[in-house]
């Protein structure tokens, strides 16, 4: 065992804008959302950002883990929608949660997989004895150029994990591996408000190549077979890619669907796959094995094999569940979405 997930928490804003409305507004065929596998996406309110959502998820993660801020030795904040371009988000969340001052604390950026890398860094810290517990947060108020294809999926959400001693954890990370290349499939330049992407180029050479490579590395190193896993969760930029990548790995759809959240809430970027993992942890039984593979453009993937322990039910009960956050929803029109996310050109600073 490398390390364990001692606790986790999630946050999904309750407001949703429908993909059909986005299609109608921007002149797409209303059949497009179905092709993308998205029904609607979660929208954060005006006073929310990656920090506030990450704080909520982290607060629940600490509660589930049964630890206080005093027990956390490192805080990693994975995001591509930092409220400050320069100034860590991690320190804000850490102070707001009462995390002690003697700690590591930094923001990580690797498109949608920074939080996944944060977990791998944490495994190293815990195994190496530099930290007893770390807090890893993945949180994004994802940006999309209004009217771009990304507008159908770019949503808001957060997830957080307390990584620590596997013997104290309801879920143990038995193996993990990362696979990274330089692939410009999606990016956002400095001073640019919205990301650009290579559209079809984001698929085969980017998403599929990295996820499949990381997954195969993990299987090779552990000797595990796809059939050894009870659940599989992959980064989910839309509702279709995860099912396609599962098929390529020979993993049946029913093992993927429990962790597939993007159709209902959109792509939460750094939360995405890990939010799916949180949902699976809330539904899994002791002894279940979960395959998790993240993906971040640029590009890279982290693959994890996670085994659920006996204390899972008790730990689940200590916090709000992802499935409840998905079903607790309020529809808003695109105009309110635009107001919430600051898409109107307004005079500010007056």
């Amino acid at each position: 065992m490398e390390a364990g997930i001692r606790g986790w928490g999630a946050y999904i804003p309750k407001f949703r804008v429908s993909a059909t409305e986005i299609a109608t507004l921007w002149g797409y065929d209303v059949k497009l959302p179905k092709a993308l596998g998205v029904v609607e996406k979660a929208v954060a309110e005006e006073d929310e950002d990656a920090v506030t959502m990450g704080w909520y998820a982290a607060r629940v993660a600490l509660k589930r883990a049964g630890v206080s801020g005093e027990d956390i030795d490192a805080v990693f904040f994975g995001t591509e929608s930092k409220p400050y371009a320069v100034k860590p988000s991690a320190t804000i969340v850490a102070d707001a949660l009462g995390v002690k001052r003697r700690k590591l604390s930094t923001d990580l950026e690797f498109a949608c997989r920074a939080a996944g890398e944060g977990i791998r860094i944490s495994i190293g810290l815990v195994k190496g004895g530099l930290a007893q517990n770390t807090l890893v947060i993945g949180s994004d108020t994802a940006q999309a150029n209004p009217g771009d294809l990304l507008d159908f999926t770019a949503s808001s959400g957060a997830v957080a994990f307390v990584i620590g001693n596997p013997s104290k954890s309801p879920a143990a990370i038995e193996a993990s591996v990362s696979y990274v290349t330089d692939t410009p499939d999606f990016w956002r330049r400095d001073r640019s408000p919205y990301p650009e992407h290579g559209e079809i180029f984001t698929g085969e050479p980017a998403y599929f190549h990295h996820i499949l490579s990381a997954a195969k590395l993990l299987l090779d190193e552990t000797g595990l077979k796809p059939s050894d896993f009870d659940y599989a969760v992959f980064h989910q930029p839309n509702g279709k890619f995860p099912l396609q990548v599962a098929r390529a790995l020979g993993i049946p759809q029913e093992k993927v669907l429990p962790g597939l959240v993007t159709p209902y809430i959109g792509n939460t970027y750094n939360a995405s796959a890990l939010l799916g993992l949180a949902k699976i942890l809330e539904e899994a039984k002791p002894g279940n094995r979960i395959l998790v593979v993240t993906f971040g453009s640029g590009a890279g993937s982290d693959a994890f094999s996670i085994v659920v322990g006996d204390s899972i039910y008790e730990v689940v009960s200590r916090g709000p569940k992802v499935s409840d956050m998905i079903s607790s929803r309020v529809s808003i029109p695109y105009g309110v979405y635009a107001k919430f996310r600051g898409l109107y050109l307004r005079n500010i600073g007056g």
Partner: protein
């Protein structure tokens, strides 16, 4: 620069967390980290952190326009009684147009933005309240 970095930094503990001041002299409790009890003036105080749950005592929907860049009316502003028996005033967020917040609504503390010195200045974060979905 319209928002001071240090003014908020100084008081961030009381803004980021629900700190309760308990008076050892009069026995009364008040919100925020205070060195003096606001009821009796005693310095014999200690501080504890609220669990962050409570109920709405009263709430009003505010359309008064009183700011510019941070303006996002309508706002719900209410008085919340924390489970620790302490009152605090603040904004209630996460409420849809057709949802009702009223006396007795259960709420939990959430971290939100208070103010943002756009486009270049600091961001203030602090505690607001969000209704808890009770099935």
């Amino acid at each position: 620069m319209k928002l001071s970095p240090s003014q908020f930094w100084r008081i961030r503990e009381s803004q980021y967390r629900l700190i309760i001041t308990e008076c050892g002299s009069c026995g009364r409790k008040s919100v925020f980290k205070r060195s003096v009890c606001p009821f009796c003036g005693s310095s014999n105080v200690k501080h504890v952190e609220s669990e962050g749950f409570g109920k709405v005592l009263d709430v009003t929907k505010v359309m008064y326009r009183w700011n510019s860049s941070d303006e996002r009316p309508p706002l719900l502003v209410g008085v919340v009684e924390l489970d620790e028996g302490v009152r605090v005033v603040g904004e209630i967020v996460g409420v849809g147009d057709n949802e009702e917040v009223k006396e007795g609504t259960r709420v939990e503390a959430v971290l939100r933005r208070y103010a943002s010195d756009d486009p270049y200045g600091v961001i203030y974060y602090g505690i607001k309240f969000k209704p808890i979905k009770t099935a």
